[in-house]
């Protein structure tokens, strides 16, 4: 369809030059700024408002917090990425009743099982958003994309020190403005819909529950 491309671009380029665009004042974005401790509070408030659950942990004990949660909830198996640091740390420390399932082969090898038999998925995060609540993920070879999507429960590890003020500042601080992996995303809660009479219902296609293990690593 190169003719289409040429024709479209020709038409667009032939348009009369518009005036200069209005000035861009980003002050409204830049002033969204809070001290580290407050960022944690805001993130929690924002995410709890959309039914995210929080578990508190310290840097040395988070694997056992995850484990206790799984034991307590009767989770039979937990899918994780063995290639990630946090995934590996979880596996090393694991002594729970749930079976740890490494996501270590192409999804085609176990797609049906993934959809029907996995109870929960564990991922790390690369940051959080204080302003609105939300966690940032960069899925990839170490932690595949579907870990945080297909299992009914998503458990995400978030270090308080990585919480950013806003998505706007996170884009700059994480360098997302320059280059991005094939997939990156923000998640603020479990999957939800309001398509039936504006009534909120959770767990429509993706996870029914989002559990954030919040590691307090602030000095």
């Amino acid at each position: 369809m190169t003719e289409a491309r040429t024709a479209i671009l020709e038409r667009l380029s032939a348009a009369p030059a518009g005036g200069p665009p209005p000035l861009e004042d980003t002050a409204v974005m830049a002033r969204r700024h809070w001290p580290a401790a407050e960022r944690v509070v805001r993130l929690r408030k924002g995410m709890e408002a959309v039914r995210t659950e929080f578990l508190e942990a310290i840097p040395s004990d988070w694997p056992s917090v995850v484990q206790d949660f799984c034991d307590h909830e009767g989770i039979r198996n937990l899918l994780y990425g063995p290639g990630s640091n946090d995934g590996a740390a979880l596996a090393t420390a694991w002594d729970g009743e749930a079976t740890l399932l490494p996501y270590d082969r192409p999804v085609e090898a176990f797609k049906t099982q993934l959809f029907t038999e996995v109870d929960a998925g564990f991922t790390s995060t690369v940051g959080g958003i204080a302003e609105t609540g939300g966690i940032l993920l960069m899925p990839g070879p170490a932690e595949p994309r579907l870990l945080s999507l297909v299992p009914p429960i998503h458990i995400a590890l978030l270090r308080a020190s990585t919480i950013q003020d806003s998505l706007w500042s996170a884009i700059t601080n994480l360098g997302w403005g320059e280059s991005l992996p094939p997939n990156a995303l923000l998640i603020s809660g479990p999957s939800k819909t309001a398509d039936i009479e504006q009534t909120l219902a959770y767990g429509v296609h993706g996870p029914k529950r989002l559990i954030v293990v919040l590691v307090n690593d602030l000095r």
Partner: protein, 477 residues
Amino acid sequence: MHAETDILFRESAAKALLDPQLRANFRRAMDGLITKRKAQFPDPEDLQELRHLSTAIRSRSLLNLPALLVQLEAACTRNGIQVHWAETCEQANQLVLDILQAQGATRLVKGKSMVSEEMHLNAFLESHGIEALESDLGEYIIQLDGETPSHIIMPAIHKNKDQIARQFSQKIKDAKYTEDVDELTAMARKVLRQKFLEADAGISGVNFAVANTGTLCLVENEGNGRMSTHVPPLHIAIMGLEKVVARLEDVAPLYAILTRSATGQAVSTYFNLISGPRGEGEKDGPQAVHLVILDNGRSRIYGDPQLQATLRCIRCGACMNHCPVYTRVGGHAYEATYPGPIGKILTPQMEGVGVRHDLLHGSSLCGACGEVCPVEIPIPDILVRLRREATHQDPASSVAGKGTGRTDAEDRAWRLWAALSKRPGLYRIVTWFATRFGWALPSGAPLLRDWTRFRTKPVPARRSLSERMRAERGSHD
């Protein structure tokens, strides 16, 4: 001042007004959305600042549109996303079909995409033996009934719980009747998860396309967008050519104002950035990603400096939520892909101002839409401009169907009005008669007939103000 050309919207609207259930559904939903949006903008100055910034970003993006599209194409290609261009919906449909057939794909899941509605893609694919299943819950609900979306963000907003309960119990295998929203949602989940698992391909729209990184941004709450774009082996994204912005930093303010304006949410559940197919070492994600860039009249709209503002739209739906006409008649009355105020200016520009003259006059020009639009599109001004285009043949104009909405009756009416209003002497005589004998006009007179269906007949005062002021002056002289 009646014109034959006004009939389509008028008749559908009148029909919709007779459905009390529909009116109640919309009123409740729109009141709720207005309240929720308002709560997201507690500080009016903050809101205006964010609007100005968003407007400026969209304006700058449009200013550089051709260059940005070329840059987007290059960046996507570098990332392994295959880019296609379509001038028309037919071309875009064919492109999608070709891609699917090359993969032998027959089962398709779709994330929400208004552009695919514009293309009537589902019907086209089905005619070629490909099942295209809508997976957004609202879209799924309306697809079950063979309907089109009645709102761009909440496609099934015209239906209430009872109607959906009945529908599910009849149309979903083994479903029992329930009005419990969680149970209804669970039923859809069960059906759709199986479909995601089995799908050969997924189709999605694009909320923003980032030129420098070659990234497609998808905003959603349900996760069906992620399912459609990450689970099947093939992902096809479709976008209108206006969706491109220069860099991801530009998206942050637009995203912030989009979710707040649309559904009164500070943030959506998912904000998904797709910059390529399954990468080196990745264990999931589609093997191939295609991007179809659709024109369908947009480049023509782009050619007009005033009308170009139409393309700033980020499809938040706030204009319809706040529209007193939309609130009363719902989305289907517009008989167009995009209903409400944005549809009233977009549809006539795409399909021709004469053909959809009815939409241009389906507005009281109250300005509620322009007031809430996050990118400050002057919808009422554009409506007036298009009304002018519809009735006048401006040689310099590039508007589709210009001049084709002109009727002799309307022409005569305005000429008469002008002849009267620019001759004060004549005007004085006519108003004199109106004040003396206006009461005697029968309620069934043209124009009055419509007015008096809902109101008493307006009766002129016994003496006009001008007459009284004349008398006053006379007594002073």
